[in-house]
């Protein structure tokens, strides 16, 4: 079970890319998901600005394209068990 305290600590960093704009550098469609996630979903590697890149889940149904301009939006991270605290973070969609 996810630690509520770790989720709380991660609040400091989980929202920092909310509303930020970047471009897709690479992408992969995860078919076999790790536990805590339900596939399939795209994960993108986004270039935010010089020397700053992030990875995150893609939210649109339409496939991400390399070079696409994207924006960070708030979503649930992973599948929260009924007993767990819900984690929120930034995922990416077409700008």
């Amino acid at each position: 079970m996810k630690s509520a305290i770790q989720v709380w600590r991660r609040q400091k960093t989980n929202y920092q890319n909310l509303g930020r704009v970047g471009a897709v550098v690479s992408k992969t469609r995860i078919i076999e998901a790790p536990s805590g996630f339900i596939g399939p979903y795209w994960v993108v590697l986004v270039q935010l600005e010089k020397n700053k890149r992030v990875v995150g889940q893609w939210v649109d149904e339409a496939e991400p394209k390399i070079g696409m301009k994207v924006v960070g939006v708030l979503r649930r991270i992973g599948e929260a068990d009924k007993a767990e605290v819900i984690e929120y973070g930034v995922k990416w969609k077409k700008l």
Binding site: L18, I38, Q57, V59, D60, V73, L74, R76, I86
Partner: protein, 350 residues
């Protein structure tokens, strides 16, 4: 009784709506249950509804709408003295949505929050409470949100319309430039069991045809009439009228009874395209009016929440929105259709 005291210190300084981009056609759902899509569309007047992604919830919808509202308001999140979220799908039974939303928006720690629930009218009730705090001079600005990922039992008639969305209204004192002015509010309530969801239950129940006369119509008509009487205004005084939209037929019938014309209903009438996003329904109608209406136009909103009650509010639009800033209009156009199995996979029913 809520007194017909005109607000002097409360205006709308920011507003925003968020509707998820996925849509499912009513016909898709009808097919799954051997019903005729055409007949259902005909009887409800709704052709499709918005569907939240699996990783969206009331919090994420509320944040998205609030971000738009904050951009329009041009205030710092720390200026908000209160954040009230009305919903029937708060992610927690105990742990307020308002504090999560406020934290994400960067409101800081100096603010009042408490979660609200009154079926589909909790969003307008949030506006009334925020307005009271501002008028009393206790806060300078406050964020009222109605947001829902509407739950409905698979196969139930509600499934055709139970949608998802969020509307956010930032109200503020004269310290900030007003986009609209709040004039009067009023509210009526009764204990009417038309639609309910017990603690721990995933899906709501409803009383079928009882949800019309003794529930929706009694309160929407009653509240609007009482409001007009108290404020000594007539229905013709308003350029735009937003009535709660659980489907298209109820508000259209109520409009006829109240003498509201199609033109008055038009801008706020989103239900055929997005379905019923519960607590966000009336607020999203209001967002669309604020976005597309013209300066000096008068607006009347009557919401409805099962259980049951209605809030009525009147506003005067003070500023036209720029043509390139029609955010809700863009969201209503940029949609993607899914089928019933995709919908079930998303909706945590599978």
């Amino acid at each position: 009784m809520i007194l017909p005291k005109k607000f002097t210190k409360v205006g709308i300084i920011g507003f925003g709506g968020y509707v998820p981009s996925l849509r499912i056609k009513v016909g898709e759902i009808a097919d799954a249950y051997g019903k005729s899509g055409e007949q259902v569309v005909e009887s409800l007047g709704v052709k499709q509804k918005a569907v939240a992604g699996r990783d969206e919830d009331t919090v994420s919808l509320a944040v998205a709408a609030s971000q738009t509202a904050l951009q329009r308001a041009k205030i710092k999140p720390e200026n908000l003295g209160a954040v009230l979220v009305g919903s029937e799908s708060h992610p927690y039974a105990v742990k307020p949505t308002g504090s999560i939303v406020a934290e994400i928006l960067g409101v800081g720690n100096e603010y009042l929050t408490v979660d609200l629930e009154f079926a589909c009218k909790a969003g307008t009730s949030a506006m009334i409470l925020i307005a009271g705090l501002i008028e009393a001079g206790l806060i300078e600005a406050g964020l009222a949100i109605g947001a829902d990922v509407a739950q409905s039992r698979p196969g139930d008639a509600l499934e055709y319309t139970a949608g998802a969305g969020a509307g956010a209204m930032i109200l503020g004192s004269k310290k900030f430039p007003w986009l609209a002015q709040l004039n009067f509010v009023s509210s009526i309530s009764s204990d009417t069991p038309d639609f309910w969801r017990r603690e721990g239950e995933q899906y709501p129940n409803h009383a079928g045809r009882f949800t019309a006369g003794p529930a929706y119509f009694r309160h929407v008509l009653g509240s609007t009439q009482s409001f007009l009487d108290k404020t000594k205004t007539k229905i013709n005084d308003y350029n735009h009228v937003v009535l709660h939209m659980p489907n298209a037929k109820f508000p259209q019938r109520a409009a006829v009874k109240l003498g509201v014309t199609k033109e008055q209903l038009n801008l706020g009438f989103l239900v055929p395209e997005i379905g019923n996003p519960y607590s966000a329904a009336s607020l999203l109608g209001l967002v669309n009016v604020l976005e597309q209406g013209k300066k000096q136009e008068e607006i009347l909103v009557t919401s409805y929440g099962s259980g049951a009650g209605s809030d009525s509010l009147s506003l005067t639009l003070l500023k036209n929105s720029k043509k390139n800033k029609l955010d809700l209009e863009r969201q209503l156009k940029e949609v993607e259709y899914i089928n019933y199995s995709q919908y079930l996979k998303i909706g945590r029913a599978i």
